[in-house]
Amino acid sequence: MTRLRAALSRPLVRRLAEAVVTLVGVSLLTFVVLRVVPGDQITASYGIAAGELSPDQIRSLEAYYGIDRPWPVQYLGWLGGVLSGNLGLSTASGTSVAALTAQALPNTVELAVLAIVVGLLLGIPGGMLAASRPGRARDGATQLGSLLSLSVPSFLLATALATFLANQLGWYPNGEGYRTLLEDPWLNLQQMALPALVLGVSIASPVLQTTRTAILGVRSEDFVRTARAKGVPPRLLQVRHVLRNALIPVVTMTGLQFGFLLSGALVAEQIFAVPGIGRQVLLGLQQKEYAVVQSTVLVIAVMFVLVNLLTDLVYRLVDPRVRAR
């Protein structure tokens, strides 16, 4: 309990206030960017035919989409709606953005969690392997793998995997309609396997590097030498003393990767036809649906900021040195 109270002390309150200011800025920026550029929902939904609309028709369409009011009124109206849980309406599909998001968000979160699992499974053992003999062959080999995972963009890996597996092995679960985890767990996990692998590979490199550096750092600390001198068996020493302490920065790194996954997921979702939140933004951008893009981007930014805040909190809880400060 005292731990929690210490964690919630002043710096955290300040970070919360900062987060709120940031989110207001995010919403303003999204709002302005979407409006300063030429083209609006009318041209997006009517295409060239928009040129043939009479001034009266344009006026009534503007009123229908709510873009006839002055900007500040539009912004405050939208923000007020968001705060009361109304994210606006997607005119193309005729559903509320809140409903669309409620459908899409769990898919993206599931994908991000699976990708983090894959990334940690690749990155932590890789980092331990590299750190076990720094500067030697196995270090070099893992560094090479890490460099490749950093340099091969997800869209390329995804396209290559999809093409190869679908055609050589005839395995392409994503070709069928998407099934959520609740509808058909087995098919869902098959459909998630490739996108999670692709995204996991893309975050494995920072996890690996962080693990390696942290293990090398912890290993040279006094308490490890003391433990070794006391006769702690090497294997137990590696796990209980070295790895446990080395994982603290890995936690932070993993948290930071979550935000990256939200945007990286966009590519994987698009290629593997996962109806997630990234695809929702992409579709909204293509159809110039202000409400969809604006609200979805805000949802993503809120999640990003919250995850970073949470990472900070967890870091404070697990690392007594930060707590003391």
């Binding site: 720094p134 340099s151 997800s154 869209f155 390329l156 093409t163 945007s263 590519v267 293509q286 930014a301």
Partner: protein, 294 residues
């Protein structure tokens, strides 16, 4: 060690630096990085000057989907366009977008970061607020949103990518300036009556070269990846100009019967990014005293 760090003896410092450069580029990975980048920049230049054996845009249906051969080194696509010429021209496009976007974000970000770090107070808080806002967007999403709303061209893609990296450069520059601000020679410069601005330009900025060169190299590789991702998603460099991401997208349906359409643009992209990453690592160990070798 202490002489090079305090910069008391310029000769010793130069010798130390030369040693560090040799150490960095003498390693296998540093040498490979230089080699790959020479290859990539060379190919890009050849394409930019129009010296490829075939025109990257010339269509010839009678030559469609030829495999790699002595005649068409990387094969041809469904319109009979030469894949080698298109990969080279795609690399030229990647390099152009990367250089322009990094130069723009570097100029704006550095100014912002240096001013924030040096003057502190309100300037720092405002700059911090701005960078926080930009950081709240996942980077690809921000670039995508900007690129999608602007008219499609290589220049707007560069602008979109530049906006994403402004806060990164600002943050990278702010840290060293903060610590340099209280360095003895900076304080001394002010004590002898130099204005804050001239101190900044003469003493603070030159001491950040190392960290900036490294950051620039790594940013170039991110910019290439981002441009390729945007082009893949249909919001990047518009056709008919060749872009590596666009080529991978086009290859999706044909890669089964014509794998070279996917393989060569993919290799081109990875080689450019690996080269820049290796170069960045080598530069880091040469220029950043804290990295201290491996």
């Amino acid at each position: 060690m202490s002489a090079t760090e305090t910069g008391l003896e310029p000769g010793a410092a130069a010798a130390g630096r030369a040693r560090a450069w040799r150490a960095a580029f003498g390693t296998p990975s540093g040498a490979v990085g230089v080699l790959l980048m020479v290859l990539v920049v060379g190919l890009a230049l050849v394409a930019a000057l129009g010296l490829t054996p075939r025109d990257p845009a010339a269509q010839d249906v009678s030559r469609s989907l030829l495999g790699p051969s002595g005649d068409a080194w990387f094969g041809t696509d469904q319109f009979g366009r030469d894949v080698f010429a298109r990969v080279a021209s795609g690399l030229a496009n990647s390099m152009r977008v990367a250089v322009v976007s990094v130069a723009a974000s570097g100029a704006v970000g550095l100014t912002l970061g240096v001013l924030a770090g040096f003057f502190g107070g309100l300037v720092d808080r405002l700059a911090g607020m701005l960078t926080n806002i930009l950081f709240a967007f996942p980077s690809l999403l921000l670039a995508l949103a900007l690129a999608a709303t602007l008219e499609r061209s290589w220049l707007t893609v560069s602008i979109a990518i530049a906006v994403v990296y402004v806060p990164i450069f600002a943050r990278v520059a702010r840290g060293p300036v903060l610590s340099l601000r209280s360095a003895e020679y900076v304080v001394a410069s002010q004590a002898v009556g130099r204005s804050r601005l001239s101190t900044l330009v003469e003493h603070v900025v030159p001491n950040m070269t190392g960290i900036l060169v490294v950051q620039t190299t790594l940013s170039l590789s991110w910019a290439i990846l981002t441009e390729a991702s945007l082009s893949f998603l249909g919001f990047g460099t518009p056709p008919p100009a060749a872009s590596l991401g666009g080529m991978v997208y086009d290859a999706q349906t044909l890669a089964v019967i014509a794998p070279w359409l996917l393989v060569f643009p993919g290799i081109g992209l990875v080689v450019a990014v690996v080269g820049l990453n290796l170069l960045g690592d080598a530069l880091r160990s040469a220029l950043d005293p804290r990295a201290g070798g491996r």
